[in-house]
């Protein structure tokens, strides 16, 4: 996820910016410092590579906010990839700096092996984060970005480039050090790009894009007490990736109704507001359960999900009534409930859309003219229709589906911290003899 890799990069670079008297920190004879300098330049090359790649991936969306009025609409103005824009200029300067450096990017082994040296370790961590960030700003991810999200990436690249330029000046006395090509131009281009993107409202939801590890089943022995319930609920969500048939969905609905109701007294001792929310949730599932008695359908599976739901119920039934549940665990339940409710609402709406659910036949009639010796029951399978079932749709959309109450994404502390590190001044030396 870009939020994690970007944060790691900014944290390490901010830490490096706060380090002064670099030669003392590197320590050792000139040969050792030269060797360390070469390794640092290799790590820096990884960061530069990511910066170039991110600028390339976001270039179709980096419109200049300072574009002059152009009367001819068929002529591009400040469009994506246009070198005349500050972002385009930064991209070109980064490409040039990367190409003219004699240092090769650090190998996978160098990036993943700890060095044990304070300064080099920070560079290694930033290179590692940059390598991982290549997944998060790859062209496949950038295809789904909005212009606001792309501007945040450009702003981040500009800040990181400024940090690299400052550090380049600070490390210039290292033996064998090779400065960035046209570092002054790189610094000015990054400053212009940062100013340009800040003229528009940035969209920090970009932090949620990118690669993230696959959610897996929690295997192994059953965890003690309430954590066992949490484990089963987590596994139920993972198992819900497959579409359940109507029978198993009814088992899952029943398990959620019981689980919510049983959790209410535990929550009431710690957070009465949450207890009320879960009591409403139990009522919602009770209504849904009643509505699903009239609905059938054999498409889908969901046996494992139903089993995990049953596990959750049996484990909470075995929990002593005087158990105190931590607020953190309650928060975990709320998070899982929101995910599961959203998934169940999706499953039902999807099932209705693809006619996987059918209405049960009311009091079947005999078909007299079937032509056979035995008159069969007339079977009329009618798919569940969203327009004809306003009560069911109201339960799903109005009560089951969690509200979109997401907090406005914020830039996070590391972006501000990196900017503060860029402009900070070192503390004055003290003589140590003050009384």
């Amino acid at each position: 996820m870009y939020g994690e890799t970007g944060t790691a990069m900014r944290q390490e670079l901010a830490g490096l910016l706060r380090q002064h008297r670099v030669q003392q920190r590197l320590g050792g004879p000139p040969e050792a410092r030269e060797e360390a300098g070469l390794l640092i330049r290799q790590y820096r090359q990884n960061v530069l590579l990511w910066c170039s790649q991110a600028m390339r991936a976001t270039s179709p969306l980096t419109f200049s906010n300072l574009a002059p009025a152009q009367p001819n609409p068929f002529r591009a103005v400040g469009g994506g990839g246009n070198a005349a824009t500050p972002a385009g200029e930064l991209a070109r300067a980064l490409e040039r700096a990367g190409q003219q450096s004699t240092a090769l990017p650090a190998t996978s082994e160098q990036v993943t092996t700890p060095t044990g040296h304070d300064v080099i370790e920070r560079w290694r961590e930033s290179a590692r984060a940059a390598s991982l960030a290549e997944h998060d700003t790859a062209s496949e991810v950038a295809e789904r970005m909005t212009a606001g999200q792309a501007q945040v990436v450009v702003g981040d690249v500009a800040a990181i480039t400024q940090a690299l330029v400052v550090l380049d000046q600070r490390y210039r006395n290292t033996p064998g050090w090779e400065q960035l090509a046209q570092s002054a131009r790189l610094g000015w281009a990054s400053l212009a790009a940062a100013l340009d993107v800040n003229l528009r409202q940035p969209d920090y939801t970009v932090d949620e894009l990118g690669w993230r590890p696959k959610t897996k089943i929690i295997e192994g022995p059953v965890k003690e007490g309430i954590l066992g319930v949490l484990q089963a609920e987590h596994n139920l969500i993972v198992r819900m990736k497959s579409f359940p048939n109507a029978t198993n969905l009814r088992y899952i609905i029943d398990s959620q109704r019981l689980l919510s109701r049983r959790l209410v007294p535990f929550a009431a001792r710690i957070d009465p507001r949450l207890a009320e929310v879960w009591s409403d949730r139990a009522d919602t599932y009770a209504t849904l359960q009643q509505q699903f008695r009239r609905i059938g359908g054999r498409l889908g599976k969901g046996g494992y999900a139903a089993a995990e739901g049953a596990n959750a119920v049996s484990r909470i039934k075995a929990l002593p009534t005087d158990t105190v549940v931590e607020p953190r665990v309650l928060g975990g339940f709320q998070l899982l409930f929101n995910k599961l409710d959203r998934r169940i609402a999706d499953v039902i709406e999807d099932g209705i859309d693809r006619c996987a659910f059918l209405h049960r036949v009311t009091l079947p009639r005999v078909v007299g003219d079937s032509g056979g010796l035995v008159a069969p029951v007339r079977e009329r399978f009618m798919p569940v229709n969203s327009a004809a079932n306003p009560e069911l749709m109201e339960t799903i959309r109005g009560r089951l589906r969690p509200r979109q109450g997401r907090a406005t994404p914020t830039p996070g502390p590391t972006r501000a911290d990196l900017h503060a590190a860029l402009i900070h001044r070192p503390e004055p030396r003290t003589s140590g003899l003050e009384l």
Partner: protein, 99 residues
């Protein structure tokens, strides 16, 4: 499924739903619901709908009708062991309800 079979099944389902709705606790209601789901599962989820307007309000009578209807399913080719297991589930739920 022939008409008498469907009628018997609909009768059993209707009484089970009425028992579940009037259950003394959430757990008992869930136990009745499990009987209903099991009955539907045995019939490959091709059961007819319920008709709550035609059911008595007396729980003891509802239980008796449901038991008789489920027992009657044996006569329509439903596996006898499955029927016995469903009956046991129903009796267990009802005993919890009366406790």
């Amino acid at each position: 499924m022939l008409l008498p079979h469907a009628h018997t099944l609909a009768q059993a389902r209707t009484c089970l739903v009425a028992l579940a709705d009037a259950a003394s606790s959430e757990d008992v209601s869930s136990a009745y619901e499990h009987v209903l789901i099991e009955l539907d599962r045995i019939h490959c989820d091709e059961s007819p709908d319920i008709y709550l307007d035609a059911v008595t309000q007396d729980q003891a009578i509802q239980f008796e009708i449901a038991t008789l209807a489920i027992e009657g399913l044996k006569g329509y080719g439903v596996d006898a062991l499955s029927v016995e297991l469903v009956l046991w589930m129903l009796e267990d739920a009802y005993s919890q309800d009366c406790a």
